[in-house]
């Protein structure tokens, strides 16, 4: 299947019949109380009074929850009864409810692009809680601006693009492998790209894992054999994604493949699942004694415990005592700069401690923690560790424990224990285990290719944790596993399957509808100066010829509607649908005209 581009040009914008400027419109305006979120700070009745005399406004009302089913039904009835040709809802952010009210418009037979959402909550009531008068004035002006835009809207149709039933999975760790199997099982073709020479990620290095005691190596082996049973999965190891072109539903991905047949290949995919995992935090030199003999990270210690067949030994000496220092590299502990909690480490540590007690019940284990976060069904592990003899001491982040190497080469951990009246305890131990958390992968090259945004913590950001938890702001590029944030292996798998679901929801239909909010060139006005080509970050603009005439043309499927070219064009030959010059002028004109 080839990439299908649906060109949109000015002719496809259906002008309103009798739509000359100045014609009267029939607009319905709804101002939402948001159950008090707005009406506690904005006098919504006065907002309605402020705009209801506008000549284009036919219906103007307040509503308790504009998004409620009842209000939606009410709007639909109004649209039909009054033959409305424009809809304005003043409520919350368009991020939340643009689609909700476009749906209302559609169901009532109104073109959904004749709808304007005005944000008087995030951008008004919530930020002006101290000034009801001012907030009311501002809300009125914002609503008037919305009416000004709607007066100039034109009906638009979404672009329908055929999609490619093929998903690229980046990362061959447990999340990536499970996603690949899931995608294959719902009938999609899959390519897995793994940077390392073998798949398996971190889990492949783990022995017994909590809470079910499964062996990480076995889990990976099982997944690999399942992958091999599915001919629709291609696995490329030692490979990296180096380029992305095309648009939602039809991305052309460039992959640099190493080894035999090295070079760059290109595949066409409908969606991308990013499952690039995490790195382990490496403590700085001297951070809690790191670098000293006998001071290990949890990862190192876990490897040692997994390998042990009998009582633990370190450098030939039996290990009689262990101190675990929690939150190393997390929650700003001991001055590290990571603010976040790494989620998996508490349970992982107590499970490791239980394992150690199983090898040798006489080993003394001290857990120096801040909050024990064995959430949900992990709690019994914590109980089990205590029952097996582990001792838990709580430290204050203002007074973190210190690790010192004595003259006898013996490690001593000193901690002020909040659980025993802040008693300062000095614990001579054979090993100190630094419970290190997860940090984001250093993979800026990939980030540059995918343009997936990262959060303040450096992990990839979903659009919304509840509404769109595996989607990113790049359509069709999904995230799964620890690249989105610290989590357990099972949680990574769960998210991988959620990404499978999202891919299937996009691709199983075989086509997708895209927003027609794209830039269009007026070929008659274009002088083919070529300036716009330099402004487009999406490579959506090309020069074309039609007989004698040369002019720019914009590929609607690639255009993201950023508007960069619009403002740059010296001939004013480009307009952005949904944000046309007329619409923006209407916004400004009506906003400044408002008198409250």
């Amino acid at each position: 299947m080839s990439e299908q581009v649906v060109p949109v040009d000015a002719q496809q914008v259906f002008p309103r019949e009798e739509g000359e400027a100045g014609a009267q419109r029939r607009i319905g305006v709804y101002v939402c109380h948001c159950g008090g979120n707005i009406s506690d700070y904005v006098d919504v009745e006065r907002v309605v009074q402020g705009i209801q005399d506008n000549g284009d406004v036919v219906v103007a009302k307040t509503t308790m929850f504009a998004c409620s089913e009842a209000s939606q039904q009410d709007m639909e009835a109004d649209i039909k009864a009054n033959g409305l040709d424009g809809l304005v809802v003043a409520s919350c952010s368009p991020k939340l409810h643009t689609y909700t009210f476009r749906g209302v418009a559609s169901r009532a037979g109104l073109n959904p692009y004749e709808y304007t959402q005005v944000n008087i909550r995030e951008q008004c009531s919530w930020v002006h809680t101290d000034d009801r008068e001012g907030a009311t004035h501002k809300a009125t002006a914002l609503v008037a601006a919305g009416i000004g835009r709607t007066r100039n809207t034109v009906p638009l149709e979404p672009m329908v693009v055929d999609t490619t039933p093929h998903t690229l999975v980046i990362g061959g760790g447990i999340a990536g492998l499970r996603a690949a199997i899931g995608l294959a099982d719902v009938g999609l073709k899959v390519t897995v790209v793994e940077r390392e020479v073998a798949v398996g990620g971190w889990v492949k290095t783990l022995g017994k894992m909590y809470p079910h005691g499964k062996d990480g190596r076995v889990l990976i082996d099982t997944l690999v054999s399942e992958v091999k049973k599915r001919p629709s999965i291609t696995v490329l190891t030692g490979a990296e994604v180096v380029g992305k072109a095309g648009s939602f539903g039809n991305y052309r991905m460039s992959i640099r493949v190493g080894g035999e047949g090295a070079g760059t290949i290109e595949i066409l995919v409908g969606s991308v699942v990013v499952a690039t995992g995490f790195d382990n935090y490496t403590p700085g030199d001297g951070e809690f004694g790191f670098g000293s003999e006998g001071v290990l990270t949890l990862t190192q210690f876990k490897e040692m415990v997994d390998a042990a067949k009998g009582p633990l030994a370190w450098k030939g000496r039996p290990v009689r005592s262990v101190a675990y220092i929690y939150c190393v590299g997390s929650r700003n502990t001991g001055g590290c700069s990571n603010a976040y909690c790494s989620r998996f480490c508490c349970a992982s540590t107590v499970q490791t401690a239980v394992q150690v007690s199983g090898l040798d019940p006489s080993v003394r284990q001290f857990h120096l923690y801040r909050d024990m976060r064995t959430y949900g069904k992990f709690e019994p592990l914590y109980t089990e560790a205590r029952d097996a003899g582990s001792v838990f001491l709580k430290f204050d982040n203002d007074e973190p424990p210190t690790v010192a190497m004595g003259a006898n080469r013996k490690l001593t951990v000193t901690v002020r224990d909040l659980l025993t009246e802040r008693t300062e305890l000095a614990l001579p131990v054979d090993l100190v285990v630094l419970v290190t958390g997860m940090i984001p992968r250093a993979n800026q090259d990939l980030v540059d290719v995918l343009k997936v945004p990262k959060g303040g913590d450096g992990f990839f950001n979903e659009i919304h944790p509840k509404l769109r938890p595996v989607e990113t702001t790049v359509d069709g590029v999904l995230i799964a596993g620890a690249c989105q944030g610290p989590k357990t292996s099972a949680e990574a798998v769960t998210q991988a399957l959620a990404a499978v679901t999202q891919s299937a929801a996009i691709l199983k239909k075989g086509y997708t509808e895209m927003e027609p909010l794209v830039a269009v060139v007026d070929a008659d006005a274009c002088t083919a100066c070529g300036d716009c080509l330099t402004t487009c970050p999406y490579e959506a603009i090309k020069m074309t010829e039609e007989g004698e005439r040369r002019f720019a043309v914009i590929d609607a499927a690639s255009c993201k509607g950023c508007g960069g070219c619009v403002s740059y064009c010296p001939e004013n030959a480009i307009d952005l649908l949904g944000y046309t010059d007329d619409e923006i002028s209407g916004v400004i004109a009506d906003m400044i005209e408002v008198r409250v």
């Binding site: 159950g35 008090g36 308790m64 929850f65 998004c67 409620s68 089913e69 039904q73 919350c92 409810h97 689609y99 909700t100 169901r107 499970r178 199997i181 899931g182 099982d185 719902v186 009938g187 499964k214 099982t222 399942e226 997390s330 929650r331 603010a339 976040y340 909690c341 989620r343 976060r373 959430y375 949900g376 069904k377 709690e379 204050d396 909040l418 025993t420 009246e421 802040r422 913590d457 919304h464 944790p465 509840k466 595996v470 989105q484 944030g485 610290p486 292996s489 099972a490 798998v493 769960t494 998210q495 399957l497 959620a498 679901t501 999202q502 299937a504 929801a505 199983k508 239909k509 509808e513």
Partner: protein
Amino acid sequence: MTDMTDMAVARDAAPTSLDYDVLVVGAGIGGMESALKLGDMGYKVLLVEKEASVGGKMILLSKVFPTLDCASCISTPKMASTIHHANITPWTYSQVDKIRRAADGTFTATVTQKARYVDIDSCTGCQKCEMACTVAVPDQFNADLVARRAAHLTFPQAVPKKAVIDRGGSSPCSFACPAGIQAHGYVSLIRSGLDEEAFRLVLDATPLVGTLGRACYAPCEGECTRGSLEGTLPIRRLKRFASDKHDASGNDNGLARPESNGKRVAVVGSGPTGLTAAFQLAKLGYGVKVFEAAPVAGGFLRLGIPSYRLPEAVVERDIENVTGLGVEIAVNSMVSDPAALKADGFDAVLVATGTHRDSGLGVPGEDRLGVMGATAFLRKIKLGQPVDVKGKRVVVVGGGNVAMDSARVARRLGAASVTVAYRRSREEMPAHHVESVDAEKEGVEFRLLLAPAEILGNAQGGVAGLRCTEMRLGAPDASGRKSVEPVPGSSVTIDADVVIAAIGMAPDTSMFGGRVPVEKNGRLSSNKATCQTGVEHVFAAGDAVNGPTDITRAVGEGRKAAHQIDAWLNGREFDNWDDRLPVVDKQAVLARQKAFTLSAPTPDGMQLEPAPTDFHEIEAPLTEAEARRSSGRCIDCAVCSECGECVAACPVDGCIDLRSTAKTSDLKVGAVVVSTGFKLFPADLKPQYGFGKYQNVITAMQMDRLLAPTRPFNTVLRPGDGKVPDRIAYVLCTGSRDKQVDNPLCSRFCCMYSIKQNQLIMGALPLADVTVHYMDIRAPGKRYDEFYEQAKAMGANYVKGRVADITEKPDGNLLLKFEDIENGGAITEAEYDLVVLAVGVQPNRDAEELFEVGELQLDEWHYVNEPEEDMNPGQTNIPGVYVAGAASGAKDIADSIVHAGAAAAQVAAHLERTRPALPKIEMVPA
């Protein structure tokens, strides 16, 4: 790990056409997410939700962590998308009864769409029924902080926005009424000040509103759930109150003469059965004529019941309800051949002639002057005929109500003495308890365990006394009454001038001369269910068929007869006129009520004199204040009272139908998603925290309601006294990490929702201090720990240490005793205005009920087990059955949504694997 390409679910098995690809059980956030994603993928989904709205618990929340998005703003789009999705069929207010897995790997689910009594297609969500509803019960969607109506929208943002009428069954009072009168309904109406409506509700069943308000023995009151607390409601007197108010108002009764249907019915007998039947038939448009042998209409109401209990004027007013519909009543009209009335143009005939013949004593001397039957005696008095008892010694034989009436009438007529002789003891007396007690108060003497043996005569042919045999009690007989046997050789004589025999009544069928079939016991013969006799157009009902009963039963007989005559005349099958729902369980009602305000019953209003001399009415009416207070004591056992106000208020005809019934269907589906969610820990299981006892100890769900945009009080205040709290404490791990309540698990989200509430409270009440008593703060998620730090920075105070116990001070403040671990570990006390219990999660055991016992595997804590959680999250032990969200263990909203997404992937893989031979489901764009 099972082989994920396993084809064990035979691909070759003949594919059976499915009603739906997937059944999703539960439309909380997990169920909605699974359904939406599966719908997006093109699968046909049946989504079954037991509540009347989708949305689960999330929609009830204020805001959600860590983004502080408004919960409604996140939920409502998902709810609306769910309902509008082309591939999702949402069945709300429905339940999955059982799911069975077939040999071919598909499932048959039995699903019941519960009766919501509102037509979901006609309802516009206008809430007029809610405004009109007279019943208020605790609103579970506001965590019981406020009340809601029986007719209601689940909550303001309900999707679909359709009303539902909460009917738990029949209330015990209404169910007890043999006349089928909605006792709960009129009590509820009077409580709401709708007295005329109350009158009309009773009038809907019978014309005898005033009569029943006085002379009914009120079986309803015997069943009143309040009876087991501090005493029954005066239900009968409330009915009289409504009737009196109507009479005093001068209103017409609201019944217009219906258009004639061209058919005529004759009713023989004008007692309660005949009058009720005539009334009901007239309302249906029949031309009705009542034939009464006596000189006045009303039967026993007019000829038996003494006027101190039931004044004649009341009966006459009630009869006007019948004649007002055009019913003709012919008195002094004996009918000897009912069947022959057909020749006079009557299409059907109802015989309801009652029991007017006294049973004889069967002892020597019965023919003496001064011996009479009780009905004959009462009838004479009512007709104003002379009876000579003044100054006489009167003995009444019998222990029933008629005996009591006779004795008390004799007292009023100036008898020198009145003695009731009864062959058993007081406990066995069939008379209504109140009647016998009142008779005694009026100076009637009781001689018990005496059976008449002979009436002794005097020289004038009159009576000198009653000789009796002494009796003694034996073992209970078949009816449960203790048997009696004569004491051999005993003999007791009571001096008497008059003996009234009140030992039973029987129908008088002599006038029919065998033209109406009669049973061996002398009663008319008719089918008990249909009232039809051997002659098809002749029906018989009431006491003439059943023997002596009481007014309510007689009224019920009249309603039944009218219903069946109407059925027969219209060629319909006979059916059951009584379509009441099963009675509710009183214990369940009492358990539902969280707290009772005990309130003393209204005094009975009887004004008795030791020696009454006239026939004035002895029972005082309820005052307006008494009526409101008494009706206000009703605890709405069945929730809906059937008062009918919603039906009247609904602007759409036929939208509300209290007769609608549940519908059960069997559906074939390819896979099942169990998304039945969780339950919150019932905080009263930690009695040391005082929830349910101290009003200012609330649960976190209640706090979330207090903070929500749809908050009940529009601000945060404490329930005890409405004060705005200054010092608020949180008790974390209430019901979690606690072996005492058998839950060793962490509930995962309580720390986070508490931190969220801390921040919202500090926003809503800037002066309030918030202190959180915790064990560990568990903020292990993306941006969660940062959220915790933010709360600390805003000023919330976090104290490590478990709360041992809470006590209440007289001013409603609460003393918390806790271990202050970080400050020396001393046992410390602190005083707060309000305490919030951060309740944890319990498994929803409904999940296991979906399948045969033991079929769906649960984990050791009774959550749905995911045997391969690490590789196949969402998969259960049953192939084709998946679990989404908190049904498999506590999860916060974000985790539930991701988990539901994973379950959807599992379902899709299962469907693709097991049914490739099926035609591809047509893709419907979402």
